[in-house]
């Protein structure tokens, strides 16, 4: 089982769209996939039409694997389950602060699911704190969408520094360009510069697309309503590129 976190400390960069489409494409390829929506805004849960439980349970999230199992819902698609977010997830940092071995909690809980899933995708909230540390420990790969702008470049730098400061292996960070507008000179030049600086950037790039925006309207992954559109093809390319990471033996 592999764990991929779709993470950026910056909001609105395409984390949720990536998590939703990659989870769907993986399941379609036969990987038993679980998408965990860690963002209290619950956007990926919304895209899959999965409602969270009424009860607040965020406090117990890191305490027992059994608790998590109860909240998993099947999506409408074969081999794809969703653990929907709850508003109480906004207090994750507080909940973790009160726990011992908090850095390893998420990793340990996810390990309990290794017989049931081939892949777990984490849709992460845009923040950096105790939850992020738990995520960086638990994930085999931290997939970072980067809009090719100066601000996003800075955010990636900050993430790299955070990894160095906390001794997380930087090799886990796999960035890719998101919301790319090729007609913009700034985007083109930033992409060129950043690719020169960070060798691990994926070749696949996700374009800025109305189809991706429309996912909210359709409440479904791109492949179900825009199969032959460039944005869907871009996610397919992204999945093909990260697939060796999923298949790689531990």
């Amino acid at each position: 089982m592999k764990v991929i976190a779709c993470y950026s400390m910056k909001g609105g960069v395409g984390k949720t769209a990536s998590a939703v489409n990659l989870a769907y494409l993986a399941a379609r390829q036969g990987y038993r996939t679980l998408l965990i929506d860690l963002d209290p805004q619950a956007a990926s849960s919304f895209y899959f039409r999965v409602k969270p439980a009424r009860k607040k349970w965020g406090k117990r999230f890191f305490q027992a694997y059994e608790e998590l199992l109860q909240h998993i819902r099947a999506s409408d698609f074969e081999a794809l389950d969703v653990l929907p977010a709850h508003l109480s997830f906004r207090n994750f940092d507080v909940a973790l602060a009160g726990l011992s071995k908090r850095g390893k909690r998420l990793k340990r809980i996810l390990k309990g699911m290794k017989d049931n899933y081939d892949l777990i995708i984490l849709d992460c909230p845009p923040s950096i704190g105790l939850l992020s540390e738990a995520i960086f420990n638990a994930a085999d790969t931290v997939l970072v969408p980067v809009i090719p702008t100066t601000l996003s470049e800075r955010t990636l730098e900050q993430l790299m520094e955070f990894f160095s400061a906390h001794a997380f292996p930087k090799s886990r960070i796999i960035p890719f360009f998101s919301m790319v507008q090729v007609q913009k000179t700034l985007h083109k030049s930033t992409m060129k510069r950043m690719r020169g600086r960070y060798r691990r950037f994926l070749d696949a790039t996700i374009p800025f697309s109305r189809d991706i925006e429309n996912m909210g309207e359709h409440r479904a992954p791109l492949d179900t309503f825009a199969r032959n559109r460039p944005a869907n093809q871009a996610y397919q390319n992204l999945f093909d590129e990260i697939r060796p990471l999923i298949d790689r033996r531990a």
């Binding site: 899959f48 409602k51 109860q70 909240h71 099947a74 409408d76």
Partner: protein
């Protein structure tokens, strides 16, 4: 808690024709029923002659596009493979799990269509107010000998237990026949599909039954069993029909021979003649079949430079096999064959004569007595083994072992299944090595008989020579292992087990 605990188990109903239209009206109004897709296909069910797969609760399905799948209970997939060539034997399938599963389940039996089912499947989704699927429904309709049948299955989704329970309760109120489980086998049974070929086991005998009566009853069942394989031999369905035909008759011959003192001598002589008359003409074809089935083993014995010779040899044997089959079919179709069978059955089914002491003795006493004698004979022959024991003496030991093995199998009901199995497994090592010794000898004779011909091509002569030399070596090697195998068989524990089972003091 396991993952299954949060996924509801499916529910299944058989629909009466009156229920076919109304079930959807029973669904909760807050859920929207959406038709997803319909699929119509005809599935061929393949099985061996004696429906081995069906009897194990398995189904081998062939779909229209050459997709083969082997399913267990409730259609759980065991193995699958794609083959458009309509394979009939395990070795005709591509390497993989299906091939190995069928190898152990069917052996040399071919698998052929035994039933066919036209299956129409309509899938439905039940969506909530968010348009999220919360349960699925599957309407299956079949058409066969019993007309049309329909089934409705409710399939739950992980995390939507409450919705599942509501739907299940509503459907249960309007649908009468709740099926615990549902799979293709159930659907086929509802269409009247059932194993056509019932291979009856030999009927149980009572320990107090008189020997002649019991032996007649058993030999009669064995001879009747042989007949069911005749059609397969005539149609040349596969080689297993002839093999099983011969096994059944050989058992009848061995039983009557081992218990010959239960018959009046002229009766036994007639039985022996009739059984020999029925099985005698089958030997030639069986030898040719066995040789052809072992092609891979023979090919592996010689280097590649012999390939051309091997090809010639196998082509020649295949031609001879074709001829031998025609001759045997003619014999089986002749009135003399029918007459011999009728005579055999009349003789076996006649009232017992009880002319001899053994005939009147209980079968329990006779079986114990005969089996103990065979055991002592084996020990006597085995103890006399030495490095220079002549080959005919080794063959004699093999035949005695075979007789003992048959007795343990024939009278398993009297000896007890567990004990018999235990002793048979103790004999296995010795029987294997003696069997190999004999097989290599028979194969050398076969090659000399069939591989040589006037003006034979040099490659053929070289190949026959090469194979014979290898087989001779293998026979010598098997011969060298006989003494050690006997020693293992004659160890004190096995001796004690045999004596405990046969309890000479009790009989």
């Amino acid at each position: 808690m396991s993952m299954d605990a949060v996924t509801p188990s499916p529910r299944h109903w058989r629909l009466a024709s009156s229920e076919l239209q109304g079930w959807s009206r029973a669904l909760p109004s807050e859920l929207h029923l959406e038709t997803a897709e319909a699929q119509i296909e005809t599935i061929d069910i393949l099985d061996s002659f004696s429906w081995d797969l069906w009897r194990q609760g398995r189904l081998l399905c062939r779909h229209g596009n050459g997709y083969h799948r082997l399913c267990g209970a409730n259609d759980t997939l065991i193995a699958q493979a794609q083959s458009k060539a309509k394979p009939r034997f395990w070795w005709e399938l591509p390497a993989g799990r299906l091939r190995s599963s069928l190898k152990s389940a069917c052996g040399f039996w071919s698998f052929n269509p035994v039933a066919s089912l036209r299956l129409e499947r309509h899938k439905f989704s039940l969506r909530n107010e968010d348009h999220k699927i919360v349960a699925r429904l599957l309407l299956a309709r079949t058409q066969g000998a019993n007309g049309k049948q329909a089934y409705l299955s409710l399939l739950g989704l992980r995390g939507y237990l409450q919705e599942f329970d509501v739907v299940a309760e509503r459907l249960a109120q309007v649908l009468k026949t709740d099926l615990g489980t549902l799979g293709l086998q159930q659907m086929l049974q509802d269409q009247g599909v059932t194993p056509t070929q019932a291979i009856k086991s030999i009927p149980a005998i009572s320990p107090t039954q008189k020997t002649e009566s019991a032996v007649r009853q058993m030999a009669c069942a064995m001879s009747t069993k042989a007949r069911i394989y005749e059609a397969g031999i005539r149609h040349d369905t596969d080689t297993e029909f002839l093999h099983q035909y011969r096994v059944s008759l050989r058992k009848a011959r061995s039983l009557t021979s081992l218990m010959k003192n239960a018959f009046e001598p002229t009766t036994y002589a007639r039985l022996k003649r009739l059984l020999a008359e029925l099985s005698g003409p089958t030997g030639e074809l069986r030898d040719l079949d066995v040789f052809l089935l072992e092609r891979a083993r023979y090919s592996a014995m010689l280097p590649e430079s012999f390939d051309a010779g091997l090809k010639l040899l196998f082509r020649k044997i295949a031609r001879e096999r074709g001829k031998a089959h025609k001759i045997l079919v003619a014999r089986l179709s002749a009135p003399e064959h029918e007459q011999a069978y009728a005579d055999l059955m009349a003789l076996l089914q006649a009232e017992p004569e009880y002319q001899t002491r053994m005939a009147r003795q209980t079968i329990d006493a006779s079986a114990h007595d005969r089996t103990l004698r065979r055991y002592h004979k084996i020990i006597q022959l085995g103890n006399a083994l030495h490095e220079g024991t002549p080959d005919p003496d080794i063959h004699a030991l093999r035949i005695e072992c075979k007789k003992l093995r048959y007795l343990l199998e024939f009278f398993v009901d009297l000896f007890g299944h567990a004990q018999s199995r235990h002793l048979i497994s103790d004999m296995k090592g010795l029987q294997d090595v003696l069997g190999q010794f004999n097989d290599y000898s028979v194969q050398q004779e076969f090659l000399l008989r069939h591989g040589q011909q006037p003006r034979a091509p040099t490659e053929l002569i070289r190949t026959v020579g090469g194979l014979t030399a290898v087989l001779h070596q293998q026979q010598r090697e098997a011969r060298s292992r006989v003494q050690a195998a006997f020693k293992r068989f004659a160890r004190p524990q096995v001796t004690a087990d045999f004596h405990a089972l046969l309890r000479p003091e009790a009989h």
